[in-house]
Amino acid sequence: MLTSADRQEIEQLLYREAHLLDERRFREWLDLLTEDIEYLMPLTEHVQGKVAPAGHPIIKDDKNTLRARVAKDETGWSHVETPVSMTCHLISNILIDEEGDGEASVKSSFIVRQARKLRDEAWWVGRRHDRLRRVDGQWLIARRRIHLDATVLPRGVSIFF
């Protein structure tokens, strides 16, 4: 049974995560993810009639791949993050449901504004569907599906959602 304390902890986790990302504390962000995290962004397409599904998603990262992305920015030579992006993650519409195995299904909506250099910016809007698991007494994110409301992305992805 998810208690109200669990629900509050999960909600706080999502907000804490947003602040960690906006403050660029990416190593601490990685600690909020389980070792077997699946971080997935499917391809959004408009299809008509019976056709084969997309051959692969936009992103399907495991923890090591996420670590590689963080390490890339840490080199100081990642052009796409030089100077660093300013981001603001607004997380809303949080819906927490219990799953049979004691895990939690958590849906949320997001608006992320990414500002680069002088004038360049991108707005990323969409929904997330997470699976959270209790590990050593703490809720962690075990799976994240990111559904971007965009078929043509506004720029290359160099931030986390």
Binding site: H46, K50, V51, P53, H56, K60, H79, V152, V157
Partner: protein, 459 residues
């Protein structure tokens, strides 16, 4: 004098000097859209995207929206996505399977062959006098080259085989499309993103710019090395790249050198035992099936290319004029990136990308090959976003036409691009080079000159 009137002096490909006006000027953009994207042969997709009758994908020829569709009669057509009555789009989806296309405005309906098949009120309002056969969707000429689909909106354009000269066809068939080892298979799904700067800047990056790799992608190369040292395995950190040791020679390939539409391949590597051993090791980690396939593939390739010594093995990146970018050719265990650079005005483009794998590869190979596509030169990969960033900075630095008075420099190996492997088709010269960029602008200028329409372009 307008920029168009000065093109000959602005595009000094023979001197390795190009003036930036050609990347920013509106009139130049309009003419190249007419001459190149509406006047020449441009890539639109792959036959695998429309395997069954009624299958279609939507794409673009420049800014012209098109439907690539396999008709009920089995024939692939490229139709302009624009109703002949009031010009409304008739297809709103990325891909699908349909019996036809009906316009949402007044209900004119077209078959998968583009013919106008029904019009509301045909008897009552048009008195039976509407000549439906004259009002079909505008249809482009189509060419299928080992599955790769090209189209032109210009009825006077040269035959496709003549547009692609013999050298270009050879390199496309043997290396880009891997015909001797069973060919490539296209996976469904367009991966699309907006990118700043003129389409030519990314086109010239792919046709010949291996010079940028070490500097633009330093961050990635460092992570790759660190992960390898720490023994952390991910598809991308174990992916081979073109900075190889122990292989044969490394060259720039210019197919169509000094003649027609160029195909440039950068960092072409000739075969060496060490290279095959590298592939064998990469395949061994994927299991017995992958290992056997890699060995057999090598046998087939060596037989197909018997007599070409040294023989080409892989390449790092490439582009077929005008806008088909290629990557992922450094190993059979990397998927192939096929990228269409669709222009969106003089200072922007969209990248429409699809993924190809070797058709006869076992599933274990296809799986890691695909991962190496979307984790690499892809909108959410660790490589492409750094390229896009450079283009964004070029645009920011170039708003004032005053800055266009200073030429850009394309002098690498200028005067030193002699053919080093004359037994191979095309011109094979030193690497990294800017010979392919110079060749790109040589041909671009030919099409853009007042008499360039003869090469295929419309006025």
């Amino acid at each position: 004098m307008s920029v168009l009137g000065e093109l000959g002096s602005l595009v000094g490909w023979e001197q390795g000097r190009i003036f930036p006006a050609i990347y920013f000027d509106e009139e130049v953009y309009r003419r190249e859209h007419a001459r190149i994207f509406e006047g020449s042969w441009v890539p639109v997709g792959h036959a695998d995207m429309v395997r069954n009758p009624g299958d279609y994908v939507t794409s673009y020829m420049g800014e012209v929206p098109v439907i690539v569709v396999r008709g009920r009669d089995g024939r692939v057509r490229v139709l302009v996505n624009k109703c002949r009555h009031r010009g409304n789009q008739v297809c709103l989806f990325d891909r699908g399977n349909v019996r036809g296309f009906t316009c949402s405005y007044h209900g004119w309906a077209y078959g998968t062959d583009g013919q106008l098949i029904s019009v509301p009120g045909e008897e009552e309002f048009y008195h039976g006098a509407l000549e439906r056969e004259k009002w079909g969707l505008q249809e482009a000429r189509v060419a299928d080259f080992y599955g790769l689909l090209f189209a032109t909106l210009n009825s006077a354009a040269p035959a496709f085989e003549d547009w692609l000269g013999e050298d270009v066809r050879w390199w496309l068939r043997y290396f880009v499309l891997a015909e001797p080892v069973g060919g490539l298979e296209a996976l469904p799904g367009w991966h699309r993103y907006e990118s700043p700067a003129n389409w030519k800047l990314i086109a010239e990056n792919f046709i010949g710019d291996n010079y940028h790799f070490a500097h633009t992608h330093t961050s990635w190369l460092r992570v790759r090395q660190a992960f390898q040292e720490q023994g952390i395995i991910t598809p991308m950190t174990t992916a081979p790249h073109s900075a190889l040791h122990g292989a044969g020679g490394k060259y720039s390939v210019t197919a169509g050198y000094r003649s027609g539409a160029p195909l440039g391949l950068g960092a072409m590597i000739t075969y060496g035992e060490a290279l095959h051993e590298r592939d064998v090791e990469d395949a061994r980690a994927l299991g017995k099936e992958a290992l056997e396939w890699v060995r057999e593939r090598e046998d087939r390739m060596s037989r197909a290319l018997a007599g070409y010594e040294p023989r080409p093995a892989y390449f790092g990146h490439g582009l077929l004029f005008p806008n088909l970018g290629l990557m992922g050719y450094v190993s059979p265990m990397t998927g192939k990136h096929f990228m269409l650079f669709h222009p969106r005005g003089p200072q922007a483009h969209e990248i429409w990308q699809w993924t190809m794998v070797e058709r006869e590869a076992p599933d274990s190979v296809k799986e890691i090959a695909v991962q190496r596509v979307y984790q690499g030169q892809h909108m959410a990969g660790v490589i492409a976003p750094d390229d896009v960033e450079n283009f964004e900075r070029i645009v920011e630095a170039s708003h004032s036409p005053g800055t266009w008075r200073y030429p850009m420099n394309y002098e690498i190996h200028l005067g030193h691009d002699q053919d080093q492997l004359p037994h191979l088709p095309g011109n094979i010269s030193a690497e990294p080079s800017e010979v392919n960029q110079r060749e790109f602008y040589r041909f671009w200028l030919e099409l853009m000159r007042p008499d360039g329409a003869k090469r295929g372009g419309q006025a």
